[in-house]
Symmetry: C2
């Protein structure tokens, strides 16, 4: 018998889905990207495509209810699912939500969770159309499925990048990870104080609100998808950054058969992230490269788009794709070149 | 704070989904039936519809790994999901599977689970197109989403029945429930013997193979859907029987605004089910009315279809719909009339 940790999440998925083929004419693309791609039109010339993605979130693995309000959890679970549809250059339209709850859960808890789910649906224009509600022997389990759409020509797969393409990211990275460090530290302090509410020090997150918000209430970058469309820019490849920049760039390289050169100093980092990293004695770029849950977009564009992408707000060019034989490289601030390593968050590795 | 058990599954779903409205033109029907119904064609006259359904299965609640082989579990989980698509008079096309596993799970266990999932997909012509694989702190959790299709005119909602419509069921009922009783009894015997493998009595299921198969390896009634189509019969309302006949008939009545009269003696029961019921000192019709997990189809047809449906193999007419003011009635073998009660399996009730 073999431990799952020996394969890791992606090795395991490769093994479990090995040799799968698609037989139905409505199945266009299966396992291996942010969404599956389907076609459900009687007219075979119709370019409208259906995107489907699903995520499972387990208590104690993906979230800690000691510092995650249920409304925030519902909001985040939905948004993270929508993010997978945007990451294909699509628009999320419907959400299905399954929830399994243990006995300590009361109706009011589920009301809270659903208020967050509903708020996310409302803000992103998504309809809640189904799901399943059941019991669990212990913790809370959530499973969300999002259905969305895209035009066939607009869909950005992970496999579409070419050598010389620019590598771009939206927003900034590492903030959710530093938010998690802050929360975990507060939880430990709280626990060590034996939790007498009147005497326990209240956590002070002044000046770190942004980090906490990035952790507990991330947003999907619908705005970036809109800006790229307005600027007439169509990503050659795209995915969202859920596990960490390094690991995601390596996915793009693997699926596009390219190498890459990333420039550390170009990786966008927020001021609060930098301050918190210093306080925790972390290299801020390590947090930005390997911290997960930022849900920013990572995408590639033809080199010729350079001047146009520089006009797009809140997007940074952080490197470029190379031929595969040049490897996957990170160039640090002092000009040293390293092999990129995927140390992203992986729930199936020890 | 209010216990979830005070509402039950359906009360809870009503509360959580109260006031939900659909905003996207691609969302045609949301919560309340076996599947959500979507339209993803650019041509608004296109009658092709997309069906989506999702199910969550938790260890210790929906299955017991002490007597459920993982391959069977995978097969059943997929088939149960497909059954929801057939229950709309549709055809399942794609499946997404999310799995969360605890540390005691090895790769070989997942291989087993996936061999069952793959077998079901192969047999039913469904493509496995995505999913999620992660860790659980406790037991095994499964979440499946099936996407299928149907022609707009063919879709059978729960709400389409009329007073005087015939109520029909496929196959026979109560077998999976008696299979569960057998398995639970063997588990208790095994546990009381302290599980020394060499001395423990091996369970003898001779003559009860059918009950065990109905429990561990149910099939979705694709064949019935095909036969109805061939016979030119279109159900006015339909759903699959997962929780028990009484509770499902009551759903049809509620959503179609009808009453009903069911005739106990017409409810189809297999010989093995009857024998096992006698052995366990159960009323076999109680098992057939309230036992869940048969995954047979329950549907209604216009009264005028009576002679044609009698020609369809493995379908029985068990009663008819009535005006709502006549109530939901069960007529026993001796002609006594009772109010129908939903005592079906409900994971959210005590």
């Amino acid at each position: 018998m073999t431990d799952i940790s020996t394969l890791g999440e992606f090795g395991l998925i490769d093994r479990l889905t090995e040799g799968l083929t698609l037989h139905n004419e409505s199945s266009l693309y299966g396992v291996g990207d942010d969404c599956a791609v389907l076609r459900y039109s009687t007219d075979s010339g119709d370019t409208r495509r259906v995107l489907v993605t699903t995520d499972m979130l387990m208590e104690g693995i993906h979230f800690d209810l000691t510092y995650t309000p249920l409304k925030h959890l519902g909001y985040k679970a939905a948004v993270v699912n929508f993010s997978d549809v945007y990451a294909m250059n699509g628009t999320p339209r419907q959400l299905l939500v399954s929830v399994a709850v243990g006995r300590r859960f009361k109706i009011e808890h589920l009301d809270e969770l659903y208020s967050g789910l509903r708020l996310a649906c409302e803000r992103y224009g998504v309809d809640l159309v189904g799901g399943d509600t059941t019991t669990s022997l212990t913790g809370l389990a959530l499973s969300l499925t999002c259905v969305g759409e895209a035009d066939a020509d607009a869909i950005a797969y992970r496999s579409g990048a070419h050598a010389t393409d620019l590598i771009c990211v939206s927003g900034n990275l590492g903030a959710a990870y530093m938010g998690l460090q802050l929360m975990e530290r507060e939880r430990r302090i709280f626990e060590s104080q034996q939790a007498v509410p009147e005497t326990a020090a209240q956590p002070d997150f002044a000046g770190r609100e942004y980090l906490i918000e990035r952790l507990l209430k991330p947003e999907a970058r619908r705005d970036i998808i809109g800006r790229l469309r307005e600027a007439g820019l169509r990503p050659t490849a795209m995915m969202d950054i859920s596990d960490g920049l390094s690991s995601e760039v390596m996915h793009l390289c693997k699926q596009s058969h390219t190498g890459c050169r990333l420039y550390e100093e170009r990786i966008p980092v927020d001021y609060q992230t930098a301050v918190a990293a210093e306080e925790f004695n972390f290299n801020v770029y390590t947090a930005a490269l390997n911290g997960g849950e930022d849900y920013e977009l990572l995408f590639t564009l033809p080199l010729a788009c350079n001047s146009r992408i520089e006009q797009v707000e809140d997007v940074k060019v952080i490197g470029y794709m190379t031929p595969p034989e040049e490897g996957q490289k990170l160039v640090t601030r002092d000009g040293t070149e390293f092999d990129l390593k995927a140390q992203g968050w992986n729930p199936l590795r020890e």
